[in-house]
Symmetry: C2
Subunit: 190 residues, 2 copies
Amino acid sequence: MDIGPYSFDEYVHLVKSFHGHAAPGMIIGGIMVDIALNNKPAGELFDALCETANCLPDAVQLLTPCTMGNGWLRIVNLGRFSVTLYEKNGGEGVRVYLDSSTLDAWPAIKEWFFKLKPKKDQDSQALFEQIKDAGAKLCKVRSVHVHPRFMEKRSKGSIAVCPLCGEAYPSKDGEICLGCGDENPYTEFH
Amino acid sequence: MDIGPYSFDEYVHLVKSFHGHAAPGMIIGGIMVDIALNNKPAGELFDALCETANCLPDAVQLLTPCTMGNGWLRIVNLGRFSVTLYEKNGGEGVRVYLDSSTLDAWPAIKEWFFKLKPKKDQDSQALFEQIKDAGAKLCKVRSVHVHPRFMEKRSKGSIAVCPLCGEAYPSKDGEICLGCGDENPYTEFH
């Protein structure tokens, strides 16, 4: 089984290097992104939308041109294990998701996906063998049209200097930057 | 100038491959992450917090073990060009930011950072030369303590099957999944 331009083993190697370990969600995520790439609408320019923040965004970043920092990957955290690749101007896309109704045939995957046992009691070897065996059979593909709000270009607009912290920030955020307002992420600052 | 474990040219090569192009924000971002790595508190286990979604998250993902999909990188979009690496249990951290008060010495960087000219009229060659010349002089470092809400482990809790879409979702989200509720990201679905 190939995943994107990689052999299965090459992909696992890449996952360990980028994500830290060969998480089951990264292997299934890679299979899902591969399916999405093979089914996406014609046209080179596509964005990605992940419905979970777990694992799947890293599979997208490893296998497509879409990253968090270049703005082509969006995470809409709906808690569903699903990825959509869509034409960035028109919104036509393909959504791939893990079809949980198939999992009775793959008990170790079901145990992991539905958290039926604590992680330490799960059979990791069986899990990986079943993922490799099941492959694309775990997934379903749908045609979708994403909402126009996901087709808007991300722009900060004009830049001001915050009178409190002295740092640059988007002037549309108001008289002071969000970090000096209610959203300050720090309890101490030296 | 080295950036993380890479020479400057190696880093630029990596940026082009991952991020798509050698964006100025990726080069300055790499310099900032490098400074943070060299100043972070002792201890191996750290998380990262980016105060912008632009470029900087990709520099973190290329130069540290923290990624979006493994949960060690958080984006708190305050619109400030700043990255914090912090001890993931205690919250002690180091915050590195671009010090805009230095930019009078680097006019091409100032023009880009404050968007003083349309991108097509900016001098891209001068910009890259000034970034390489200025390096760490563009940045300031502060000790911080991050708010406890950024030290909480991300957990979905128990998993249910949505009665509408049939997909798995975190049962804490309610009777139906968020995607079948108000947050549906699709206008068409086949």
